[in-house]
Structures are given as C-alpha cells and as structure tokens.
Symmetry: C2
Subunit: 355 residues, 2 copies
C-alpha cells in the first residue's frame, strides 16, 4: 500500500521527533502534513532547514485531514515508550476519520481497548511497528543469499547506524545498483514500510528474525543488502541484539559508524572503544562463524566544526588504513565508491548445513 | 514451598528425560515417583545406575498418588516443545487430584483452556517455568554485588554447563562456602525451584534478566554465585543469549565447559572452537565491559575411555596452563580447589554509573 502520512508531534516536532525527521528525510511514503501547534502555519524547512521539505505544519488532526492522509504516524518515541495522555484525543479523531494508525511506541496501541474497538468500527487498522511477528530459529539459509550483505555497527546506540545505511543505499542506487535497506528498528521500519524490531524478538529467535529480513530483501531482488545495525558490541544491555544482527544477517562486510564525541556508552559507565579496538572485536567474533571485515568508518561529526570534522576523519583513516568519511555532512557517494569494491560475498565457516 | 514431585515420562524415562534426570540427581525438591509404564515396578537405579536413586517407577498417575506428591513434573522437553497428545489425560488426572503442574515445555500449559479451567476448579496451579516474568533493562546494579560471580560458558549447547555449575556449587558448599546456583534454563529452574529462562526473554531485556537473577542470589546471602551458561559464543542462533549472560551476570570469572568430541555446533556447519580460541574470544569480549578470565576447563568426557579422558584433560591443561578436569567423572572437589583462589571480585570498566 502507498501511504500518505500525517505525522503527530504536538510541541515536539522541532526537538524530539526522530521518527518524524527520519520519515520526512528518507521515507519511501509521502508525508502530507505535520501536526504541531507550536509551528502551525510554517513549513518543515522553516523549522528544520536540513530536512529541506515544504510539508505544511498544521495545528490539529482536523486540519491535517484537508491534505488527504491515509495514515496517522505517531512521530516520537518518548522515554518510557507510552502514548502521551493528551495525544489520545488526536489518535481517536484520526481513527474516526478512518486513518490507519502507525506507531513505533513501546506501548502497543492495537491492544488498547478504546482504540481497538474504534478502529474495528471505522474499518481501519493499527500498525504497531515494534510488535514482531513469529519468526523461526536461525537456519543458515542466509548463507545462500547471492547478494552481498553489509551491516552497520557502531561505538554506541543512536550514533547514526540507520542513517549511514540509508545514505549508502542511496549512493549505491545512484551508482546503478539495486541496493536495498533492511530496517531492524522502529524508525527504519516506518521509513521503509516493512521490517522487524529485532530488539523486541525473544532472545532465542533474534538471529532468526535478522535472517528473515535478509531473505526478504534478497527475494525482492536486491543485489546489495544494507542492514541497519543496533546497539554496540560492548553495550551492557543491548550487546546481545548487536550480536544477533552480526550472526543472523550473515554479513559479508561491516561499516563502523562512530560518534567521535562519545566517551561512554549512553547511560552506562562503560567506556566506548576506539576504532582499532572496535574493528578487532567485531572481526574476531565473526571470524568464529562467518568472517567479515570492517570496510570503512562512517563518522557522525555533527558536534564538530568542519575543520575538526576533517581532522577526525583523517585520524580515523590514518589509524585504521580504511576509507573514512561523514556521509551526511560530506555526502555518501565518495565514501561508497571507496568501500564498494571491498563488499564481496564471503562464505561461512564449514560447509552449509543440510537439515 | 517444598515440593514432592511425581515425574511424568511415559516410555521416555530411560533415554529422553533430561529434566527428570537433572531433578533426581540435583534437585532441591524431593522426587517421590517416576511415571513410566515401560519400567513400572523397578527403581530409578535399576534403569539408570548413575542416578543412584531408589525412587520407585510406577505405571500411572493413579499409582503415583499413593506416594503423596504435591506436584506433577513434565519430565521431558521433546523436539518441538509441545505436550505429547497422549499425555493430556495424565495431566488432567493430576490436576483433578489437586497436584501442581510444573512444565518446562515451550507450549504454555497455563494458557491451555482445558487445563486452566480444571486447575482453577481444583484450586491448584500450573507453573510454566519457561514463561519469563517482566524484567527491567540491565542497570549495572550487578556490579555492586559483593560475592564473586562465576559463569559457565562452553564450546556448544548441551555440553554440561548446568551440570558443571551444580557440581561446583556442591564442591564449594562442601568446602564451607555459601555458594548458590543460578538457573537460566528450564531444567536448572526446576532443579533449583526458581530462575528465569533467559532465552525466552525479549532480546533487549535478556541481559537485564540475567542481572536480576544474580541480584536475587546475592540478596539470599550467597558468598559465591555460580551461573548456568547457555549456548555458545559462536553459535549462529544462540550466541546472543550467551552474550546476554556474559554482560548481564557481570561475571568475575568463567569456567569453560567443553565436550571434546564435538566438531561442529549442533545442527549447524559452524566448527567448534579450540580451547585457546574459546578463551581468547570470551576474554576479549569481556575486556570491553568488565574483564573476567577463564579460570578452568571442565571437560565432558562421557564419550571417551578413562585413558582417553585423562589424556584429553592433560592436553587441555598443557595447552592452556589452566586447571582442567571432568567434574562428573572424577569429582569436583579437586577442580574446585584449584580454581577457587582465582575467583576474585573484579571491577567493571569505568566508574559505576549513578542514574
């Protein structure tokens, strides 16, 4: 289905609406309006120039309906993951207007008694993108995928692993490849319109979920599969999800995404690792299952001046002897062209298991 | 509560009842009867000498009731994880006799309509030990536990990580320590009467579940906490669960449990790692969060002659310069005394996070 999104982000669009920004910048579906009374009457680019979008900002669901949306997207993922109570009326209004509700919240709106019965009465649907489907155990079928698989990994959460994956897909497609982005978290899923929130899958099946995503992308005809990574390999809470993607996607190459300003894993005292340490620990782990090298370092230099950014990129390059760049700040084409020859299909250890 | 178990394992007790054998050998609760018509009239030791138990084997729930059980334990975890259909009548009979039902099956008996309403009518309970409780994210509170934490890791699934943990706890207690076993899988949970099946927890929370288990053991006054490991660090499907225990338990030391006869990860083509590779990959990973050394190698030499077993133990010792032994075949006291001085409290990287 082709969606036309109204994005609900009252009073939060400018500062706290990562999902909204991602969908506007990278989404495959159209955005027809943003709902935020604080900026009503403006365009998205008036508030956030880098999004370079003339989508109108309106004050209410009623006004958004004038732009003929098919779907209401909850535009933020607030701490705690619940729907802010004062947003309930807007969701109810959208359901009554027969809009599909798309939510990346931890709170599952589809089991909310009021919303569920209203959606049934209106004949519309609620898509909770974090709710994973049932998936099989990892089977090894991903080893038979012909297209090379690239996975982004990083020095922490929220450093840009999804963004780098999206930019690399765009650069690869611009160079003539049939590259495909594989979403593994809620914002990526809303952007791409499919995917599995791998961190919500039962631990035994997390690698299997990652495998299913790669198989789907391969089935859709991709000749390069770029998977959005999650967490960090030394993250005290989320490392298991990082590893599930490393085993389940059966990657042929990794791109290391780092925010060089991070000193510690977010919310923990664990120090972030340096470039060479990160390369060593990821490659050593994959050496035991299916070897895959780090082929480039994508830096998130948002917090740095341009001079500082260029110096950090040079430092990463010198230290690792790998291509390095900031694919958002300086564009992805050059970085992609430097790494593309290194993204080649690699076999797993051992022969393929025949069940 | 103190349980008195009747164990249901019709036609399977001898060959396919890992949970039954574990509970008879290591359980803190009493076993009063095994239900298996194939061996009815015999004692457990007549069928499995190594269990050294005179628990009677009977043919039916009705006969088991003569031994005054409080609970019926489903004694196997068959492939697929469902309750064999011809066992339903026995479960229903036990419920009607007001027995608690304890099950480690994947299939959740507590949501079976017939069993649930029967249990309610009889005023008894169904304990599905695989059903995890809601747990918080990993917090780092495990770093403040005073007792050293020992985690068993291994070269594959089903090599003896639980058994080694149980034997080490027994040896430590015999030497005067207040050691406590921490169960992380269904058999361990039934044996200990508490625990969380960490592989059934949502991936984001798996490390948090492991942490809660360690905190519970510490709260109960343990001065040595020995955690049952799961999977293997290079297991294509289960490595994320292995890593969740490595981060979430915040171990101070590891014991490496290996079946030297394994060549490949069970059901996969991935080769198992050698002793030195296993030590290197586990220690390298923990070096990035909270360093913990491998302090000994516990071999499962069941498939070897005694001469072969002693040679393999010597080889492991020579190759790694670590204590090595088979704690089931040759007893755990000597091995425990060799490793105990190496199990010392170690700090995490970075200062403790204050939220």
């Amino acid at each position: 289905m082709t969606r036309r999104y109204a994005i609900l982000a009252p009073d939060r669009f400018e500062h706290d609406a990562k999902t909204a920004h991602g969908v506007i910048r990278y989404g495959s579906d159209e955005v027809v309006a943003v709902i935020d009374p604080t900026h009503a009457g403006q365009r998205v680019r008036d508030v956030l120039a880098y999004l370079d979008s003339d989508v109108p900002i309106v004050s209410s669901v009623a006004q958004a309906l004038e732009h003929a949306p098919t779907s209401l997207l909850i535009g933020t993922a607030p701490k705690g993951g619940g729907l802010p109570p004062d947003w309930r009326a807007a969701v109810a209004h959208a359901i009554a207007a027969k809009l599909e509700i798309v939510s990346g919240l931890h709170e599952i709106l589809g089991i909310d008694r009021e919303f569920r019965s209203a959606a049934r009465a209106a004949g519309t649907a609620i898509w909770d993108v974090r709710e994973p489907p049932d998936v099989p155990l990892f089977s090894g079928d991903a080893y038979d995928v012909q297209a090379p698989v690239l996975l982004t990994v990083g020095n922490d959460c929220a450093v840009g692993k999804m963004t780098v994956a999206l930019e690399l897909v765009a650069a690869a497609c611009a160079s003539g490849r049939q590259a495909r982005f594989v979403p593994t978290g809620q914002t990526g899923i809303v952007i791409a319109g499919w995917g599995i929130s791998v961190d919500r899958v039962i631990a035994d099946f997390a690698a299997g979920a990652a495998e299913q995503l790669v198989l789907y992308a391969a089935h859709e005809g991709a000749d390069l599969i770029v998977v959005e990574g999650q967490g960090a390999i030394n993250h005290p809470a989320y490392a298991p999800v990082t590893l599930a993607l490393m085993t389940g996607c059966a990657p042929d190459a990794l791109v290391l995404v780092c925010d060089p300003s991070r000193t510690h894993i977010e919310s923990y005292a664990t120090p972030v690792l340096g470039y060479k340490e990160l390369i060593a620990v990821h490659e050593a782990l994959l050496e035991t299952i299916k070897p895959a090298p780090v082929v480039g370092i994508a830096l998130n230099t948002r917090g740095l001046s341009e001079t500082q950014a260029r110096a950090e990129i040079a430092r990463a390059r010198d230290e690792t002897q790998l291509p390095a760049g900031d694919v958002v700040r300086f564009g992805a084409d050059d970085f992609y062209s430097q790494i593309s020859a290194r993204i080649v299909k690699r076999p797993p250890l051992g022969a393929r298991h025949e069940p």
